[in-house]
């Protein structure tokens, strides 16, 4: 079954064709990087305007680059849950229109479920059940994946998402946007032990995260030096900051795996592209006898291939939505509304 996936929940306008939930035939992502850099972050109204301009082109490109036509699409899956409401609705309006005019099934997907499927697309051998850490600029969550489409939320961030902390620290240090790649790059040349930044909630049993205190600690430690025009040891700050985040993410995820007695961990989302994160997870999991999986880099950040894969799994379970499908900007992963 050939599924067209559409994703517009935040700042990427994306469409992809995936065959049988497994084979990615095309994965088109129009980033709004120019706008993000101009405005220093996502501005919902501006992002929604850009989605409206791009959505048709992105869908056409997903077909053209796969050598397929509209008549080949057998179902359409779209991110309908979790995201910016004005952005989500552009994708859902497009998906409904295609479902109606091509007379093909429509299925709305939760954005986080999409991220879980990004790793299953890259690594179909990931066993069930497993613990999934999904971590990006918009969310940081630990999910117990009991089976396909059956989830339990174990913990999530109480304030900033991990990727958001990268963005905010990069903005504070005037390194540009997004913060993840630039800090990853700087950190390679820095000393990870130069500064002992706080590791929030590390010593507690909770599986929730908190990163805003870490961000504030760094800002308080250096704002006067910035004000005095001093040159900061950016590499060392980047490396030490990144180490603090990675330590927390790795410790909590392993704790969750232990608690749930699973021997498999899946890491997804934009931050899963971070090299130090991959290194520490791989090393720690090797020592603990746990298997860890990462998606290929093209599936880490928001994309529509993961939405097509998740939609396919839902369709296989006999689920579909009708033309009244609406967007739900904020809904827990476990709650499947109208599905």
């Amino acid at each position: 079954m050939l599924v067209l996936g559409i994703e517009t929940s935040c700042d990427e306008t994306a469409a992809a064709l995936v065959a049988d939930g497994k084979v990615v035939l095309s994965n088109v992502i129009a980033t709004q990087l120019d706008l993000l850099q101009k405005y220093g972050g996502v501005v919902p109204e501006i992002a929604a305007r850009r989605h409206t301009e791009l959505i048709g082109y992105v869908i056409k490109e997903a077909l053209d680059s796969a050598g397929k036509t509209l008549a080949d699409i057998e179902a359409v899956a779209v991110t309908a849950k979790q995201g910016l409401v004005g952005c989500l609705l552009v994708g859902v309006a497009a998906a409904k229109s295609l479902s109606y005019s091509l007379r093909i099934p429509l299925v709305g997907v939760h954005h986080i479920e999409g991220h879980i499927f990004a790793n299953l697309l890259s690594n179909p051998q990931i066993p069930m059940p497993h613990v999934c850490l999904t971590v990006s600029g918009g969310h940081t969550m630990l999910v117990y994946v009991q089976a396909y489409c059956r989830y339990e939320l174990l913990g999530s961030t109480l304030d900033d998402a991990a990727g958001e902390a990268f963005d905010k620290i990069a903005k504070f240090l005037d390194l540009g946007f997004p913060g993840g790649p630039v800090i990853d790059k700087l950190a390679v040349r820095g000393n990870r032990k130069a500064f002992n930044f706080p590791r929030p909630l590390l010593k507690t049993k909770t599986l929730d995260f908190s990163f805003s205190g870490l961000k504030t600690a760094i800002i308080n430690a250096f704002k006067h030096r910035i004000g005095n025009g001093e040159t900061l040891p950016l590499e060392d700050i980047a490396a030490s900051f990144q180490e603090a985040i990675v330590d927390v993410l790795v410790a909590k995820t392993l704790h969750a795996a232990l608690q749930r007695k699973v021997s498999t961990i899946s890491i997804t989302g934009g931050v899963s592209a971070n090299r130090r994160l991959r290194e520490v997870f791989s090393e720690t999991c090797r020592q603990e006898g746990i298997e860890v999986f990462f998606p290929e880099l093209s599936l880490c950040t928001d994309n529509a291939a993961m939405i097509a894969a998740a939609g396919y799994a839902r369709l296989k379970q006999g689920e579909a939505d009708d033309l009244n499908l609406n967007v739900i900007p904020n809904v827990p992963l476990e709650v499947q509304v109208g599905g």
Partner: protein
Amino acid sequence: MKVLGIDTSGYTNAVGVADGNRVLADFTFEARHDSLEKIVANIDFVLKEAGFGLEDIEGFGVGLGPGSWTGIRVGVTVGKILAYSTNKPVSGVPTLEVLAYQARSMSALICPIINTGAGDTVYAAFYRTKDGTVSRTGEYYVGDIQGLAKMVKEPVVFVGAEVQAYSQLISQALGFPDGIRAIKDVPKGATVALLAATRLECEENDDVLSLAPLYLKESTAKAFVNKYSRSAQVKD
């Protein structure tokens, strides 16, 4: 040429079908916050009631706004994707022109008014009628009612969903209240279809994939970012 017209720019949404200058179906429905939920299902409803399928439609008309930014994105996206996926032409029609056209029998200058949702600020324009058509006489207006009233130098018919709420303000601001009339009206899908059909029959198609709403206002983000951000200075 059978054309499907839609408009989702306001609190009332509209779907209609016209063939040449004949109205075949027309349906308006309230959609304060649920345009997305209702529009495609209501297109299906209207086509079925009229005895058609989507395959009978030869072109699409879309109300471009101005109006609710979220609302017009729904209509424009649905219109362009339906046109793209059925390989049929599309024409965008400014919603102010739709309102003016619906008042074309009035022998006066016509001024459609659409609420911006931000205080007393409105979108407006002036249209003259000639041979059953309307044509805009100047630039689009975005501003308060008092400013709009200052532009009026002759008897005018104001038209729009909330125009009666403004009529007293307008009369106060004008020296000749007797020349003012206010007609409460909402954009109709059939009017969008008629105006789009006229354009499409002259091959005045819009590019399907690049069809965009008529916002008439920038996002407020630009000013906000310039005020608060240290590193991002927005340049035009």
